[in-house]
């Protein structure tokens, strides 16, 4: 029988909510088990009840591992963190001792989550603005709004919530707190992440005269195999972020190169591809007009507004186009809404002979292959 490792004392974890405000230490479990059991077996004829490994495991769990059993509210309690807890405590928390590259990153605290919701839904600020203010990725902000909305709905409906669990988890992992009045908000994560484009993976040797200035715009063209810009056009671009406005207003204005399947858009400079391109413009303006703070801020606000308007317009246009091709039919007294879309008979939609497997509808003489071996019928997406 394995030695039962039981803390004689109870920890604060029993009352997760109450402990959160007190943050008292809990981990004084002083149960070094007497190992007499291990040596008293010499004259026993019975087979050993456990292997050496198991014995070692319980030994470890009762000594070094004992501290991992219960958490200390507000602190991480990882395997690797314990050794250097006494040393430098400002090191990033790493849950796996063997993996230095994985960091347990902070999650949004409850207050910060609610603040995001308030700013977006009640104060009607745009996702982009809130993202810049709080240093949270735009996708995360959208998700937070969705989740908080859902939480409020469930609370109103009186559905069961996992509150003690939520409190315990937030005690165990690092969280980004909401700044108090007068404090500066700590940014949650980097918001201007540039995804590495696959075409930049190639190593290209491209000879350029030393006298010529070779910018990010030129590098993008080289990576995508486009010819160099003509001098007249290139001279107009004083900084790569000059391209931002045109592309935001009309994303289709990006040039294409290649033919057929190889056709691709010219790779744009990082200034265009980051999620918040307007911030580069803002920096440029700040540097150019260090004394006109207010004017710079105003210009930035105008640019952001213009960008949002363009995006909104584009979304609406796409929605209208989609709606135009769909016919809604709601029969009287029915709870269904039929959406009927005309099938387009082109080579792409139905194949060269009009009987391609991906063509819409049942086709006479073409057996359905949904019962064939190896056909995966697990859905690939769920409509929200």
């Amino acid at each position: 029988m394995a030695p039962r490792i039981q803390s004689q004392r109870v920890s604060n974890a029993l009352l997760p909510y109450l402990t959160s405000s007190q943050s008292s230490s809990t981990s004084s479990i002083s149960s070094t088990y007497p190992s007499s059991q291990l040596f008293s077996r010499q004259f026993s004829a019975t087979a050993a009840p456990q292997t050496r490994l198991r014995r070692q495991m319980f030994q470890w769990l009762s000594t070094e591992g004992a501290a991992l059993k219960h958490h200390i509210p507000g602190e991480t309690n990882y395997l690797s963190g314990r050794a250097d807890r006494d040393g430098d405590s400002n090191e990033a928390p790493r849950p796996f001792p063997g993996n230095r590259t994985f960091i347990s990153e902070a999650v949004l605290s409850e207050e910060l989550r609610n603040e995001v919701y308030v700013r977006v839904v009640e104060k009607k600020k745009s996702l982009r603005a809130v993202s810049v203010e709080l240093g949270i990725d735009m996708k995360r902000i959208a998700a937070v709004v969705r989740l908080v909305e859902m939480e409020r709905r469930q609370r109103a409906q009186g559905k069961p919530l996992a509150l003690p669990y939520a409190r315990a988890v937030h005690e165990m992992i690092p969280t980004t707190p909401l700044a108090q009045d007068g404090e500066r908000q700590t940014f949650h994560e980097p918001i201007n992440d540039l995804p590495a484009h696959p075409s930049t993976g190639a190593q290209i040797f491209y000879p350029v005269p030393e006298s010529r200035s070779f910018t990010r715009v030129d590098a993008g063209r080289v990576f995508s195999g486009a010819p160099a810009l003509e001098k007249a056009v290139a001279d107009k671009i004083s900084h790569p972020s000059d391209l931002v406005d045109d592309i935001i207003q009309n994303p289709n204005s990006i040039e294409w190169v290649g033919k057929g399947e190889n056709a691709r858009q010219v790779l744009q400079p990082a200034d265009v591809r980051i999620p918040h391109p307007q911030l580069v413009k803002l920096e440029l303006d700040r540097k150019a007009f260090p004394n006109e703070r207010r004017a710079v801020a105003q210009r930035h606000a105008e640019r952001v507004e213009k960008q949002e308007a363009a995006e909104q317009q584009r979304r609406e246009r796409a929605h209208a186009r989609r709606e135009k091709s769909i016919q809604h039919v709601e029969p009287e007294g029915s709870r269904f809404d039929y959406r009927i879309q005309d099938a387009k008979f082109t080579k792409e939609t139905t194949g060269a002979d009009g009987r391609a497997p991906w063509a819409p509808g049942r086709r006479y003489g073409v057996p359905a292959d949904d019962r064939k071996r190896g056909k995966v019928k697990i859905p690939t997406r769920v409509e929200a």
């Binding site: 109870v10 347990s104 989740l147 790569p240």
Partner: protein, 459 residues
């Protein structure tokens, strides 16, 4: 060699079809080396004692083989090898966090000047600072898209196997629709939700034998109650009459003392004892509230309960300022030593107040300080949010299971709301300079050969 406990576990696993028991069995059956996606103590021990396999005197093939074996035991152990091979992609997503100040300062011509890498070594000081991107740590990134793995990563289940069971048993929805395929690959923006009761069960401490027996008894009792309802009602009526006779002062004293013991951070109190206290407090609150005319108070919101309670007990708040200040002094004295001390001081003041109230005789004079009100309020909150409920499949009041904290982390590609046990899969995991988002216990000396193993053209 007999293994009695193992057999017992086997029986339980078969009987209750409980994945966590099966997991334990699995870990106990193979106590050697393998690290799994699980929170068990066996796994914790294996994680702790794992060492990178030696490379000396081993062929490159052997090195890759053992690296692959170790990492596959953790990543997608529930996925067949062929299935995983089809999922594997050699392309790895990565991002570079851009600094807008740097972008504004230079249009790229400075960095490409000279022979293509900047004019002087000093100007590229930022370059040398930048860390490498650990690409091969992302070798198993496609598996993180799976629904069962994502549930485990959001801390909704104690192992991937258990998460898988939740999905199969229909406790998981994706975008509001029930999803029964653990291998469903989440798309960016998908919202998945697990039944909160299952999550509490998966992450909470298990019941002890004593609690299980109480559950059984509760069940038997409720079965028997259906038969003999009339007798019970009479007994209850008598009890309520007695209660009405009770002095309000006594009930106030009892209530507050119970609240105080619940709130105390004393570690010497055994769980059973603490539970008794909690239950007593619960009863006392019920008793007091049942006296009120409005019958909805018990089911009403906490604020209503609290105000009703204070009204019934005719308790008043202290409005004298000096008293408050003295409280603050007490707090300030205790703060440097430990927070527990201030709590003790508070409870000491509380008992004094009660003594005064009891001696005074008049209930109306019982004045409670802010702190005492706070304690009472918190005890009430605790009672509502984390009650003793033997009908639940986990130990109540809920507390995290042992060793959970050693495994608790949430990767950035998920946004989790623990209150409703829902999460959004924001985007695919990415690597960035110095860190990779795929949680893996292995270093690059294992993930690199494992990545090489799965390339079409192996190296």
């Amino acid at each position: 060699m007999t293994r009695k406990p193992l057999n017992k576990l086997f029986r339980r696993a078969v009987q209750c079809r409980d994945q966590s028991v099966v997991d334990r069995l699995h870990d106990r059956g193979h106590p050697n080396k393998k690290i799994r996606q699980s929170w068990s103590k066996y796994n914790l021990y294996n994680l702790q004692r794992f060492r990178t396999p030696a490379t000396a005197n081993r062929t490159f093939f052997q090195q890759k083989w053992s690296a692959k074996a170790a990492s596959r035991a953790y990543h997608g152990e529930q996925v067949r090898e062929g299935q995983w091979k089809r999922m594997f992609s050699k392309r790895i997503r990565s991002v570079i966090p851009m600094n807008t100040t740097d972008l504004a300062a230079d249009d790229g011509s400075k960095e490409s000047s000279g022979r293509g890498s900047g004019l002087s070594s000093e100007s590229s000081g930022g370059r040398s600072r930048s860390r490498l991107i650990p690409y091969t740590q992302m070798a198993f990134a496609p598996l993180e898209r799976r629904l069962d793995v994502a549930i485990f990563r959001s801390l909704f289940a104690s192992s991937t196997r258990q998460a898988r069971q939740f999905v199969i048993h229909g406790a998981v929805t994706v975008n509001g629709q029930k999803m029964r395929h653990p291998s469903y690959l989440l798309n960016p923006g998908d919202l998945f939700q697990v039944d909160p009761d299952r999550v509490m069960y998966a992450t909470g401490a298990p019941k002890t034998a004593f609690e299980r027996r109480e559950t059984r008894q509760l069940k038997q009792k409720s079965d028997a109650e259906g038969e003999a309802e009339g007798e019970e009602a009479e007994a209850k009526a008598e009890a309520t009459e007695k209660d009405e006779k009770e002095n309000t002062r006594d009930s106030l004293r009892a209530l507050m003392s119970q609240a105080k013991t619940i709130m105390s951070t004393d570690k010497d109190v055994l769980p059973a004892k603490r539970k008794q206290e909690l239950r007593g407090f619960q009863k006392a609150v019920r008793r007091v509230l049942s006296r009120s005319d409005t019958s909805t108070v018990l089911t009403d919101s906490l604020e209503a309960q609290f105000s009703e309670l204070t009204l019934l007990l005719k308790a008043k708040r202290v409005e004298k300022k000096p008293a408050k200040e003295s409280k603050k002094d007490v707090k300030e004295e205790a703060a440097p030593a430990a927070t527990t001390k201030s709590e003790e001081a508070a409870s000491g003041a509380l008992s004094e107040a009660f003594q005064a109230a009891a001696e005074g005789g008049e209930v109306d004079t019982s004045e409670l300080t802010e702190e005492e009100f706070d304690i009472l309020k918190r005890a009430l909150t605790q009672m509502r949010d984390n009650p003793i409920d033997h009908s639940k499949p986990y130990a109540t009041p809920w507390r995290p299971r042992d060793y959970m904290s050693a495994f608790a982390f949430i990767p950035r590609y998920l946004e989790v709301n623990q209150n409703i046990c829902a999460a959004v899969y924001l985007r695919h995991p990415v690597a960035r300079p110095g860190s990779a988002e795929v949680p893996t216990p292995f270093g690059e000396s294992i993930s690199t050969p494992a990545y090489g193993w799965y390339l079409k053209r192996r190296w």
